[in-house]
Symmetry: C2
Subunit: 339 residues, 2 copies
């Protein structure tokens, strides 16, 4: 009998998320990811493994605990859209450490967008000021709607002010958020967005060293959620912004190389967010503190959403299966399968 495992194609993952509802998905993934952050020391962690090409990068992001192994295959190719292809695409797998057998293979482009937003909102729980209800989104690209839903569901944010240098992107955002229950306005410049905000999410496609958020616009008490700087040479905040804030990261060895903090000295203090979640370090200390989450995306977040998707798909019987594991009747007789 062939050994098959769960498979979520693009249409099947979309169907699953639609069935559950995007808000419920955000909340569910947040539960799984918070649990995983709480047991951070149990994970075997390495910075992602990157293979470089003049047009982009191909990466493998593995992580495991004593029970499950997850990895994501992900690329980043800025010239792809000109060829009608995605800049970033991803595929993910979850498997069982005790047998090595795969449990789930899934599309991971959409799943990555979800888990990235959830990770930010989990950090937000500990880093935003009490009573915060308005988020500015600088850059209405492919992360924008996911961030809005995650902060609405997980942090109770009810108002969004969006700014993009391309007004069509902001209009796309408004259109996609129809029916979300969020109060959304378009800002005509960065200052207008930042002035109204308790939370500032920067998620631009800045390709090199950029500065999308002038430091003199920032007010005491704001939380900056910096999504866009996520590979060596690509940052979106200027150093002055970083120096005004207390900085929180996912996995320090990776963020030092890929995040906004690649612009700072290696000794500049940062706090890993799991330490805040477990109570070993402070999150926001007072109303005036400027807090900053330097998001680059870590493999454990993929692990969390893969666990969530696997459990949901199994509970709903919504999975197709793949026959990818050769399974001869006698383990010593693999060749018989070819006869």
């Amino acid at each position: 009998m062939p050994h098959s495992f769960a498979y979520l194609s693009v249409p099947k993952l979309i169907e699953l998320i639609q069935d559950i509802g995007i808000g419920e998905v955000m909340a569910g993934v947040a539960d799984y990811m918070t649990d995983d952050f709480k047991r951070w020391p149990e994970f075997e962690k390495i910075p992602r493994l990157a293979s470089h090409h003049k047009l982009g990068v191909v990466e493998l992001m593995p992580v495991n605990d004593d029970h499950q192994f997850a990895f994501k295959y992900v690329n980043g190719h800025p010239a792809n859209p000109a060829k009608g292809l995605q800049t970033v695409t991803a595929i993910g797998m979850l498997s069982d450490m005790a047998t090595g057998y795969p449990k789930l293979l899934t599309e991971m482009t959409i799943a990555t967008a979800v888990r990235t937003a959830v990770a930010s909102a989990i950090a937000g729980r500990y880093l935003i000021a009490d009573g915060a209800d308005t988020m500015a989104i600088i850059g209405a690209g492919s992360q924008a709607e996911f961030q809005a839903h995650a902060f609405h569901e997980i942090c109770g944010i009810s108002k969004i002010v969006v700014f993009d240098i391309d007004v069509a992107a902001s209009e796309k955002f408004i259109h996609n958020m129809t029916g979300s229950g969020l109060d959304i306005t378009i800002a005509t410049h960065v200052k207008q967005a930042v002035d109204r905000a308790d939370i500032i999410t920067t998620a631009t496609a800045a390709k090199k060293k950029a500065s999308v958020l002038p430091h003199d616009l920032i007010r005491p008490g704001q939380f900056i959620n910096a999504i866009g700087g996520d590979c060596p040479g690509k940052t979106e905040l200027d150093v002055n912004v970083l120096e005004m804030a207390d900085i929180f990261v996912e996995y320090e060895p990776q963020t030092r190389v890929e995040g906004e903090i690649q612009q700072l000295s290696e000794n500049h203090p940062v706090t890993e967010i799991w330490q805040v979640i477990t109570g070993q370090a402070n999150g926001r200390k007072d109303l005036d503190q400027i807090t900053l989450f330097d998001s680059v995306g870590f493999a454990m977040e993929d692990f969390s959403i893969l666990r969530y998707l696997y459990d949901e798909v199994r509970a709903r019987g919504a999975d197709e299966t793949l026959d990818l594991i050769a399974d001869p009747d006698d383990p010593r007789d693999l060749f018989s399968m070819l006869r």
Copy 2:
């Protein structure tokens, strides 16, 4: 339009190999792999990435050149057969470096067995003595038939003497080789097999430090093809055998950790086989030399068979496709796929 890529499930790969014929597959993969060994310096190489569990190991094996990226997910769990599962299973992927997009996802358990045998036979071309026609196979497990076909097709071996401590395994081998055109006999002890052989292939499931080939049986001029020692702590030859031979390896940094040579000092001389294939180093120098290929399996060999399978599957139109790459009409509008 969804972006889909080629997919070889277990039954589809079997069908493809049967259509081509196992001998032709061995010869075809040997061509691809020889070409790749010849351009060895062009590959970005790292030792495999292993995640350990008390019951086994899960590994990612990536490699790339400037055009293509390949990786294999593979496990090794000695206790699996007792649960009705395979000790080793694998899945492989080939993708395009210029776009990062996948080209082929395939079952890789059978494909790994093929490429392992082809790598040995390629080494054999340079390391066996002129006129060699008989191979002893010590250990009639899942590699045995693949090794026999590869040495028959690639090195012109016409006679096999097989030995296994379990005679049923040898009989399984004879049964599977029916119609291969090879002259096969079962030996009742190791000495009987080795005495008749020009080539000795050891491919046992020795779990720890073992010695399946007494050194006093070995004759000048023989080529030893050591397959079974392939992870830290698992070897099948005693040190005396290693010291009698000139040793050839795939990728020295990996073999030092995983191969038979983990028993030797780190300075013990070995030659990477690509240097022999390109003429930068000697293979067999004289009729009396004892040569030894310490096979552990390297990612470039997966790369070679993935290239071969991709080309064959495209030429024959034999592939199914997978819809695993989210492909929104506007790259900035990923969220629209969820509406």
